[in-house]
Amino acid sequence: MGKGVHVQELPGIGKRYDIDLGRPDQRISVVVRSGGIRDLYVFASGSADPTAVIELTEEQARKVGAVLAQTFFES
């Protein structure tokens, strides 16, 4: 995949996407499980243990994605 996104297969669970934010202390990883659930791993302290892990359903993930991609408009 494109610059700074690394994809890793997780057999039996799904796929993991590591998104490099271009700074050593911040990173986001997203695990897309085969059942549709997304695990959002946020690394903000430079440590290898995640600062926060958020479990999103497909619906919730789409909402977050729409806001991040600015395709969501207030009506």
Binding site: K3, G4, H6, Q8, E9, L10, P11, G12, I13, R16, D18, D20, G22, R23, P24, R27, S29, V31, S34, D39, Y41, F43, S47, A48, D49, P50, V53
Partner: protein, 497 residues
């Protein structure tokens, strides 16, 4: 015909409630189901909800069949065949150590050779369900060792197919070695037929069951699966392996994803019944007799797992935390151990296997999540020489990515700010990459000429560093981004303490 719906409903409801309570304290659901079966069965003093567990035999068999069928459907064939040599060695070490330990304990117990073979499998094959759930709940999905853990589990499932094929003839009552050889031949012949169907006949099977309506798809698939499982049993191969293989066949059809989705809730319900019925058949009074062997079994499984974890960590360049995480995450035993015990009891082997495996699974179910969650304490106590001589590890630190070629990094700074080859050709480039082995600077993969990658292919130099603000590093050999070092080399002359 009298159907005891009250008893069935009560135990299943209780099983679900207990599992829900168990979830709060981090217990896996399989042992919770089993405990309900044990507590409310005829073999235990106190209230008895199901007087005759054998009435539920069909439902339990359906649970066993669906468990293995679903395993076959979601089996990632391509990923396993594509996984590298290192993963196969790590998995072989894990399976070899655990199966051997189980076999030796089985022989030492002196219950019989067939019994020893069953115990080898029950101790050797871990629970995919428990390990996967642990990884999700402990927030370890992005850890470097997690793909290795999952890879080992998947290869274990593949091993299970061959193990079941070997076990079925041994469990059948063959009189002479000749008969045994014939049974093994039939068993493997049947396996090969199903493998061929999986390879070439998937389209036909897909056509047979592939209704556009979910309702009909479910009915057709369940019918097919139960039929194949039953036929397998008839030819003496055991329903378990028939179900697993028809799952592999279905996994190669176009309806795979729909089948996975539709069968999952059915599997969960009937598997719960299977675990409850297994518990119902256990007499709590037998636990005393098998307590010591079960404790010894737990201990040797722990030792074998940690040894396998260290071997995997050495292969992949992980630190102590990685080693203990691998060993302790795959510690849980569950569905396969109980399936094997069920097969053994059905074949008329020593009845002590039932309570022995039940107790073993129960102890590990409590112990393994606790140990996995606290792996850092053990990691801190593990000496460096176990992994790599002369290296000093940050023992208990979680590593997010790893690479085994850090020792080949020599150059991390350069004054060069052009891609010399591109300059010569008169081409443009986007970004620059530095080869950390020899200092060569080339253009990135978004540039037309991709000189950095070409250089790595030519020379075999593993790690490049991006000459950008982010300064990330990538290892071509391990195909990972290199982040925090997994350890640092001791300065020359330092004492090895």
């Amino acid at each position: 015909m009298h159907v005891d719906l009250v008893g069935l409903g009560a135990v299943v409801l209780l099983a679900g409630l207990i599992a829900r309570l168990g979830r709060r304290v981090g217990l896996p659901s399989i042992p919770c189901y089993m405990v309900v079966g044990i507590l409310f069965g005829p073999g235990t003093p106190g209230p008895v909800l199901v007087e005759h567990p054998e009435d539920l035999a069909v439902l339990a068999a359906l649970g066993l069949v669906l468990l293995l069928f679903h395993l076959g459907v979601e089996f990632p064939v391509e990923q396993v065949l594509g996984s590298g040599r290192r993963l196969f060695i790590a998995a072989a070490a894990y399976i070899g150590l655990n199966i051997t330990a189980g076999l030796l304990l089985g022989l030492a117990l002196g219950w019989g050779t067939s019994e020893a073979l069953v115990i080898a499998g029950a101790l050797g094959i871990s629970s995919s369900a428990i390990a996967t759930k642990l990884l999700i709940e402990l927030h370890r999905l992005t850890n470097a060792e997690t793909p290795v853990v999952l890879g080992i589990i998947v290869i274990e499932d593949l091993f299970l197919a061959f193990y079941l094929a070997l076990l079925a003839p041994v469990l059948s009552e063959s009189e002479s070695p000749l008969e045994l050889a014939r049974d093994i031949a039939i068993s493997f012949g049947f396996l090969i037929v199903l493998f061929i169907v999986a390879r070439y006949g998937a389209r036909a099977v897909g056509w047979l069951v592939g209704s556009r309506e979910d309702e009909l798809l479910a009915v057709l698939v369940i019918g097919l699966v139960v039929l194949v499982a039953g036929l397998s049993e008839e030819v003496g191969v055991s329903d378990a392996i028939g179900a697993l293989l028809i799952g592999l066949v279905v996994s190669r059809t176009a309806v795979r994803e729909r089948v996975e989705r539709i069968v999952m809730p059915l599997r969960d319900v009937f598997a719960a019944v299977f675990f409850v019925v297994f518990g119902l058949s256990i007499d709590i009074g037998d636990f005393g007799r098998v307590a010591l062997p079960a404790l010894i079994a737990v201990f040797i499984t722990l030792v074998a797992n940690l040894a396998a974890g260290v071997i995997a960590a050495r292969l992949f360049g992980f630190n102590q935390r990685g080693a203990t995480n691998i060993g302790l995450t795959i510690l849980g035993r569950g569905e396969f151990s109980l399936i094997l015990a069920t097969l053994a009891i059905a074949a008329g082997l020593d009845r002590r296997i039932g309570p022995f495996v039940a107790l073993y699974v129960l102890i590990l179910a409590v112990v393994s999540p606790l140990l996995a969650a606290n792996s850092q304490h053990l990691a801190r106590r593990m000496p460096d020489w176990l992994l790599r001589r002369g290296w000093h590890y940050v023992r208990d630190e979680t590593i997010s990515t790893s690479c085994t070629h850090l020792d080949q990094m020599r150059i991390t700074e350069t004054g060069v700010d052009v891609c010399a080859e591109c300059v010569e050709l008169g081409d443009e480039w986007v970004e620059l990459r530095l080869c950390t082995s020899c200092g060569a600077v080339g253009c990135c993969d978004d540039s037309p000429n991709r000189h950095a990658t070409a250089h790595a292919r030519q020379t075999g130099h593993p790690i490049i560093e991006a000459l950008t603000a982010g300064r990330w590093r990538y290892c071509y050999h391990d195909e990972v981004l290199v982040r925090a070092p997994i350890g640092r080399e001791r300065p020359a002359g330092a004492s090895p303490a």
